[in-house]
Amino acid sequence: MKKLINDPRSVVDESVEGFGLAHAGLVTVTADPKYVTRKDAPVAGKVGLVSGGGSGHEPLHAGFVGLGMLDAAVPGAVFTSPTPDQILPATLAVSSGAGVVHIVKNYTGDVLNFETAAELAQAEGVDIRTVLVNDDVAVEDSLYTAGRRGVGGTVLVEKIAGAAAERGDSLDAVAAIGDRVNSNVRTMGVALSACTVPHAGTPSFDLADDEIEIGIGIHGEPGRHKIPMENADGITDRLLDPVLSDLGITGGEKVLLFVNGMGGTPLSELYIVYRRAAQVIAERGAAVERSLVGNYITSLEMQGCSISVLRLDDELTQLWDAPVHTAALRWGV
């Protein structure tokens, strides 16, 4: 496997350093412990938003640091959650006294490390609320698993909660908006190929040329089942059906449709998926009011995509439309 790297052990350090150089106007990168903060953090009177997780999902999370979205992002090693000794200083760096919201994807490691950091931050006098994102409908039986994973919906939670914090909402209000987005978004993903973690050197799971993996997470972990390759419309239906039924979307509702690339699928193919997904939603009598298509929460160079549907109300739409200025998302400014 060829990779544009210097040394597997310095991938995250060098990548984050480059990110800081490329977006010096937007963010400040702290090298040890590693975290990325909004240039003007802490913003006086504003609730701080901190997210983080394993690296390898770029632009998530550092690409979403900036006006109207995150105040800090904490990158861990590839596919490994960050540690409390990173999360705590990042939290303190963006705390203006109005409290800090941690946006955490529901993976055992992320939950445990953020939980520890939140306890330490509380001990330092910073009020913390945690929004747990668990939008992955591929996890069928949450009683016998670590629960639904946080995947594509994370981007939407970060954008919308970020807008709520930017408009001056209180700590509890920002957390409530984050929870509301999470409970109204569902996602399912597919892999056409596995990805290769730099230090592992071999693909994270085995997939034959004519097979696809349905229900993948974002850490290169295998999904629920392998099935033979199908065409784009067929795969789109397989992903979208469980998303729409779990969400209980009915006629007359408004939604945001998010087709996310896993890193190795061209945008042209993502639009083919979007086309079919939009048709199906229209056939159900719902209206796609907002859309997002692109590589926003990736799995290194994995080929594949995920489809997220968020049920919109007027307030969520307004917050989605609010100005945002980050490395990966920018509008209204």
Binding site: A77, T80, T83, P84, G109, N113, G220, R224, H225
Partner: protein, 210 residues
């Protein structure tokens, strides 16, 4: 054999050695049912432990384990960092500032480590996690310590053997906690990487006392 701070430092050194030697194997186990990072994280974490031990020169076994706990929590990440961090922290608390550990105290510390893992990870025996190595290890350690004739080496050997058997016994299990749980039935037929690394840690404790 006396379990003092020298033993503790030897143990942690052997842990670091075991993680370096088994890095690729643990990555492979994790690749099958997880996300390929366990060997890398454990290796990085225990190398950092060695550096800290050299710097801080702890004076009791408990202090050495506490330093290990803090380092693993801050360097390992993933679920393994907080879980092993909590395990070593609880064991350290159970040992207090004793200069030497007797068999009963040793069994008690192992039990405290296991309880810490259970409290943090909320996994139960049979969930295909490191708890499946620690639970039989603690039971065997307690039985060996109660034996009257129990020696610290006897307790450590009993714990290591039971942990190794416990790790092997995770092979057929279907995971219900941790990242492997997303695989459902497909997680059966693979060893749990956390149970495997737990067995390595307990085996290293024997090596340090032999």
């Amino acid at each position: 054999m006396v379990l003092d701070v020298k033993w503790a430092v030897r143990w942690l050194t052997l842990c670091a050695q075991a993680m370096a030697e088994n890095r690729v194997w643990l990555i492979e186990l994790d690749r099958a049912i997880g996300d390929s990072d366990h060997g890398e994280n454990m290796d990085r974490g225990f190398q950092a432990v060695l550096e800290k031990l050299a710097e801080a020169q702890p004076e009791t076994p408990g202090a050495a384990l506490k330093l290990t706990a803090m380092t693993l929590m801050s360097k390992v990440g993933g679920a393994a960092g907080p879980l092993y961090g909590t395990a070593f922290l609880r064991a350290s608390t159970a040992l207090g500032d004793a200069a030497e550990i007797d068999p009963e105290r040793l069994a008690e510390a192992l039990g405290a480590a296991r309880d810490g893992i259970v409290a943090r990870g909320k996994a139960e025996p049979g969930d295909k996690t490191m708890v499946d190595a620690w639970t039989p290890a603690v039971e065997a350690a307690q039985a060996a310590a109660k034996d009257g004739a129990g020696t610290v080496l006897g307790v450590l050997v009993a714990a290591a053997e039971a942990a190794e058997a416990g790790a092997v016994a995770t092979d057929p299990l279907v995971a219900r906690k941790g990242r492997a749980s997303y695989l459902g039935e497909r997680s059966a037929g693979h060893r749990d990487p956390g149970a495997a690394s737990s067995a390595l840690i307990l085996r290293a404790a024997v090596g340090a006392a032999a």
